[in-house]
């Protein structure tokens, strides 16, 4: 907390958000009278940093279904990810995982000892128990997505991941993230919270996943490369380097930055769809659940843009304060549109005119602005409010000082 406040020192609205977050009474999720459920949410908390909170804030009707959807895909991913399991053993599990989830008592102990989420599969009977207790409509949706994702994984595991064209890139992201969007949308519509249109607009659901995945892939360049994973499409990096790993060479720094802009520009292509999708979501808890990862993605993309650090440092992240602030602000489409406009402007003003994608990124930012002004006129007032917060920071105003004092008080109380 102390370091988070320090990092946000010049962003008083973030300090404020951090303090509020710290002071807010934590919603207690008490599952003690339901041992099985307690175990499920224990696994959720163990396997996901970012999703655990937003899933638990969902409406009761959807909460368990989405928690199980997440855990099942995480289980599948844990088998796929484990390089200590040979292909012959692995492939049948990936291809039949959608059937396995109907087998009461099934567990899996073949994961290597270092596999991070190994315990989830060891106790997978709990997950299956929970899954079988879900409404049949949810079971069908989850099984269908699991089947498609499992087959996709089996395909990439045998053929290898060769992301050559941008179409390959879209396809890969569809399997690992777009499908999740599709499944969630179907659940939203199935439970009646959202209109049937949400499930029907598969293109928009897919874009929701693609925007997140592409942002992560762009950020994780170095980490993925170290583990010999290559997700940046050759069609893009091939314009700037002979080999993907050449981008890290200091003498290629200019080309690397251009390549990065190209990746950012490609990811930004999905924002239009993201806004259109979020506009459809009416249930407040579903809205936050969908919106939070998206605003984090645009904030991350802004941090990545023109940032050479992604070629030299692993694990770069937005400030904790920024995250908390974004989570607090993402509760309706006007506010979310304002956040997108704010970051789009930052992205544009950071661009280097000599970069080959300067114009493309400018046009993309203009388009975001134009769409938001046209469809979410309320975002203009929200933007002014957000900017007032940001401005107060850059001028190092009194608010900052006050917030620091407040932060100090909180610190004292946490340590006392």
């Amino acid at each position: 907390m102390a370091s988070a406040i320090l990092a946000s020192l010049f962003h008083p609205s973030e300090v404020l958000a951090l303090v509020q977050y710290k002071l807010a009474p934590k919603t207690k999720y008490d599952y003690t009278n339901d041992k099985a459920r307690e175990r499920l949410y224990h696994h959720l908390n163990m396997t996901s940093r970012s999703f655990a909170a937003v899933i638990q804030d969902l409406d009761e009707e959807l909460k368990d279904a989405i928690c199980l959807f997440y855990l099942i895909l995480r289980g599948l991913d844990t088998i796929e990810d484990d390089m200590t399991i040979d292909l012959e053993t692995k492939i049948p599990y990936l291809k039949t995982f959608h059937e396995i989830i109907y087998q009461k008592g099934w567990t899996f102990t073949k994961n290597g000892p270092n596999e991070k989420d190994r315990q989830l599969l060891v106790e997978f009977d709990v997950v299956i128990e929970g899954f079988l207790a879900l409404k049949p409509a949810y079971q069908t949706i989850i099984a269908d997505i699991t089947k498609r994702m499992g087959n996709g994984m089996a395909h990439y595991a045998t053929a290898g991941i060769h992301v050559d064209t941008t179409a390959d890139y879209d396809e890969y992201c569809h399997y690992v993230a777009g499908l999740v969007g599709l499944g969630l949308s179907e659940m939203f519509s199935a439970c009646g919270f959202e209109s049937p249109m949400v499930a029907k607009r598969k293109d928009l659901s897919n874009s929701m996943g693609l925007f997140l995945q592409k942002t992560n892939i762009t950020r994780d360049y170095l980490e993925d490369l170290r583990d010999n994973r290559r997700f940046w499409p050759k069609e893009i990096w091939g314009l700037y380097a002979e080999k993907l790993e050449d981008l890290v060479k200091p003498e290629n720094s200019d080309k690397a930055k251009q390549c990065l802009s190209h990746m950012v520009s490609n990811a930004m292509g999905h924002i239009k769809d993201v806004l259109e999708y979020l506009e459809m979501i009416k249930n407040p808890s579903c809205f936050k659940f969908c919106a939070i990862p998206q605003v984090m993605a645009i904030a991350t993309l802004n941090m990545l843009h023109t940032n050479y650090k992604i070629f030299t440092h692993e694990n770069i992240k937005i400030r904790k304060g920024e995250t908390v602030w974004l989570m607090k602000e993402s509760d309706n489409i006007d506010k979310v549109a304002a956040i997108f406009r704010l970051y789009a402007r930052e992205v544009n003003n950071k661009s280097d005119p000599l970069d080959p994608h300067f114009v493309d990124i400018g046009v993309a930012c203009g388009e975001i602005e134009q769409i938001c002004v046209g469809k979410y006129p309320g975002s203009t007032a929200e933007l002014a409010r957000l900017q007032a917060g940001v401005m107060a920071g850059t001028s190092g105003s009194v608010i900052t000082a006050a917030a620091v004092v407040a932060g100090a008080v909180v610190l004292k109380s946490t340590f006392a």
């Binding site: 000599l354 300067f358 114009v359 400018g362 046009v363 388009e367 134009q370």
Partner: protein, 348 residues
């Protein structure tokens, strides 16, 4: 089979030349260029005829229109002309064209208006054709364009003359005499480091070939029952960008980028604008010549949002930009850089 004959007023101007070229490329019309200035080396072809003539000379206009089926009224004075000229050319000239068309039985009249007919000094966001003209105009140019456009649209009549009006925003391209040379001038003076405001205002630029193309489409769609007659249409590239991006994109084509941008706050710029207006007023009062430079109107013009909705042109004219904005920037600068090179060679 008789060929369609099309007269283009101002056909020798920046936009006019592009329209003529596009007509040659996309239609089989015979084209007559009516312009106050016909270059001495202009050679008529089997499809192009030249007539030198003044748009404010009614008999000359009528004479030129004889035997034509279509008229594209493109002629308009450049921005730096005095107010009386705007009135004379834009209003009287347009009346002459309408009268000439009616007298000579020309059936289709397409007017080149301007997106600035909506300019009231405030922001324009996703502005479309349903918006009324402003009550007060901030400059004579846009006021006279609006008056002329009203005359044109009023003249629309199913049994005599079909008319429509095109409203391009921020035309630029090879041969451009205003926007791009203006930015090059800024660069020469080293003022490309300055930025007014936070660059949040969007501006709609339109590559000239797209504007020309919209004229060709209008000529073809201007038939009874198409929904086009009597209508105005905004024409843009459909890709508004933050205002300061455009000059930076132009300079970048030359490999020039400001090492550091100096940002002048919008409010402060308004104060500077006011002072400079007062200064030129003072100079005028003392009987000295004063150029209107940095004014508040200009500060607002480049800081506010100014972009349009082109759905009407898309649906009724079937318009879609043929050259995307990025490509337009490249083509424009290729032209201007070649010109500069030529000039440098001449000097040397």
């Amino acid at each position: 089979m008789s060929t369609t004959k099309c007269l283009v007023t101002g056909g020798n101007g920046f936009l006019g030349r592009w329209i003529v070229e596009d007509l040659i490329k996309r239609t089989d019309y015979h084209i007559t260029i009516l312009d106050i200035f016909i270059p001495t080396n202009a050679a008529p072809t089997d499809r192009i005829t030249y007539i030198a003539g003044d748009i404010t000379d009614a008999p000359a206009v009528r004479n030129a229109l004889k035997g034509h089926h279509i008229c594209m009224h493109v002629a308009s004075p450049p921005h730096h002309f005095p107010a009386e000229k705007f009135k004379k050319i834009n209003i009287e000239g347009t009346q002459n064209v309408i009268d000439g068309c009616l007298q000579e039985g020309v059936r289709r009249l397409i007017y080149t208006s301007s997106a600035s007919v909506l300019q009231d000094g405030g922001p324009l966001e996703n502005a479309d054709e349903t918006l009324p003209y402003p009550k007060t105009f901030i400059e004579t140019y846009s006021e006279t364009k609006a008056i002329a456009e009203t005359m044109i649209l009023k003249a629309n009549n199913n049994s005599t003359l079909l008319t429509c009006s095109l409203r391009p925003s921020g035309i630029f391209g090879p041969g451009d005499t205003q926007a791009t040379p203006g930015f090059m001038e800024v660069l020469k003076k080293g003022q490309h480091r300055l930025q007014i405001g936070d660059n949040s205002g969007l501006f709609d630029w339109t590559y000239v070939e797209n504007v020309a193309y919209s004229h060709v489409l209008a000529a073809e769609k201007l038939v009874a029952g198409s929904g086009v007659p009597g209508q105005a249409f905004f024409i843009t590239n459909g890709a508004p960008v933050p205002f300061w991006n455009h000059p930076r994109a132009l300079y970048a084509e030359k490999g020039v980028v400001a090492p550091r941008i100096i940002i002048i706050n919008f409010q402060i710029a308004l104060i500077i604008g006011f002072l400079s207006e007062m200064f030129s007023l003072l100079k005028k009062m003392m009987g000295k010549e004063a150029k209107e430079g940095f004014t508040r109107v200009r500060v607002r013009y480049i800081s506010y949002n100014r972009y349009f909705n082109i759905n009407k042109a898309r649906t009724l004219l079937g318009y879609e930009p043929v050259v995307v904005y990025k490509e337009g920037v490249k083509k424009t600068m290729a032209h201007f850089m070649a010109l500069e090179e030529l000039e440098a060679k001449k000097k040397a």
